[in-house]
């Protein structure tokens, strides 16, 4: 298979896949695409899990597989890579903006996504999904979620 060029094309295509639960952020900006290996007769896409029990992960894997089929690539594997593990610091600066657009505070901030106040308090370390915690804004009196 064509080397460099194909790799870029695959990356460009799968970068458009969004997180099914946070539709403003792409899987590229989420930082879960580990590597794309174009071998002689096979393509291997290596991806990472944000949190091991995240139910969106299988759907993301399926979307990547469908994209590869769309590109007429027949011999491929989409595999999970556990080392080095995904960290929330793998989220790109563009990804952090995308999280805010979805009303979710990025992992390295403690700011209300609605009114930008820093007068916020952690309510629960565990939230509606594994990657989110529940906060409360004392300023605008809104509960909000923060990416873990």
């Amino acid at each position: 298979m064509q080397g460099g060029n194909l790799k870029e094309r695959i990356l460009e295509k799968i970068s458009r896949i969004k997180d099914p639960e946070i539709p403003t952020i792409s899987i590229l900006d989420l930082g879960i695409i580990h590597d794309i290996k174009v071998l002689e007769n096979k393509v291997i896409v290596e991806i990472k899990k944000t949190y091991t029990n995240c139910i969106a992960l299988d759907l993301i894997k399926l979307s990547i597989e469908n994209d590869l089929k769309d590109m007429n690539i027949n011999d491929f594997e989409v595999v999970w890579v556990y080392s080095p593990p995904w960290r929330s610091s793998d989220i790109t600066p563009r990804g952090k903006i995308a999280l805010k657009e979805a009303g979710i505070c990025p992992p390295d901030e403690e700011t209300c996504p609605y009114c930008n106040s820093k007068n916020v308090v952690l309510k629960s370390e565990f939230g509606p999904t594994r990657c989110r915690m529940i906060y409360y804004c004392n300023n605008c009196k809104n509960p909000f979620e923060k990416f873990r």
Binding site: T52, N53, Y82, S83, S124, G127, I134
Partner: protein
């Protein structure tokens, strides 16, 4: 290898399933969310181990009860919430050291998974230590926790039951920690978690271990009933695709 996988995964699976029974009926909303999330994590960790040797569903739904290598304490009913908390903290302290040892494993499949799992186990430990510590702030809480430990004084340590095959893997390059070191680290830790409780001595605990046989294939009534439940849907239509 298969035995070692089951040693790690089966505890996670069975305890995760037991924790799930609290979903929707936890003592308060945040705690319900926490325990349900942790349960999901545990089951996912089990799945990550099974996938090293095959299809996880095959190991969960198609194995005979006696082939499950889980510890006796993980298969017991939930009784009450304090028991659930105490049991989980015991298990997490035990598992954290065990997963920690895999970080230095010569086997890449185990080592790489351990790197991922340990991050989540950190959250679990933190959660159970905090909530039990809070409960123990008052005399009444201390009493309830102490009564629970009293009732399951030796059962809680049944996580340390091993069969000969697992014992042989302890201390090898694949699982580089000795059984003795695993126990000692755990025992020190658990005494810090419950400073107000006087645990039986190490010798007493080890002596009583032989009465627990769940890891060696002798399952309790609790397990068999539970097994019926979690394989019920599968058995309705074994060939169904989900």
């Amino acid at each position: 290898m298969e035995n070692l996988i089951f040693y790690f995964a089966d505890d996670d699976l069975i305890l995760g399933y037991r924790d799930c029974e609290w979903t929707g009926v936890g003592p308060f909303l945040e705690e319900d969310l926490a325990l349900s999330s942790i349960a999901q994590d545990e089951i996912s960790h089990a799945s990550m181990f099974y996938e090293i040797i095959g299809n996880p569903d095959d190991f969960v739904y198609k194995r005979e009860p006696k082939l499950f290598k889980n510890a006796y304490i993980t298969e017991l009913e939930n009784y009450d919430y304090v028991f659930t908390l105490v049991r989980h903290l015991f298990y997490d302290e035990f598992d954290y050291i065990r997963i920690g040892a895999l970080l230095n494993s010569s086997n890449y499949e185990l080592k790489s998974r351990a790197e991922k799992i340990i991050i989540e186990e950190d959250y679990h430990l933190k959660h159970f230590r905090i909530i039990l510590n809070k409960l123990a702030q008052k005399e009444e809480g201390k009493k309830v926790i102490s009564n629970t430990i009293d009732k399951f004084k030796y059962e809680l340590f049944s996580i340390f039951e091993v069969d000969n095959e697992i014992l042989k893997v302890y201390g090898t390059d694949i699982f580089p920690i000795s059984y003795e070191e695993h126990f000692d680290k755990f025992y020190e830790r658990i005494k810090l978690d419950f400073p107000f409780y006087k645990f039986p001595s190490k010798d007493e605990v080890l002596l009583n271990l032989s009465s627990f046989k769940s890891r060696r294939g002798e399952k309790s009534e609790s397990f068999l009933k539970f097994y019926e439940t979690f394989t019920e849907v599968y058995r309705l239509e074994p060939d169904a695709r989900w």
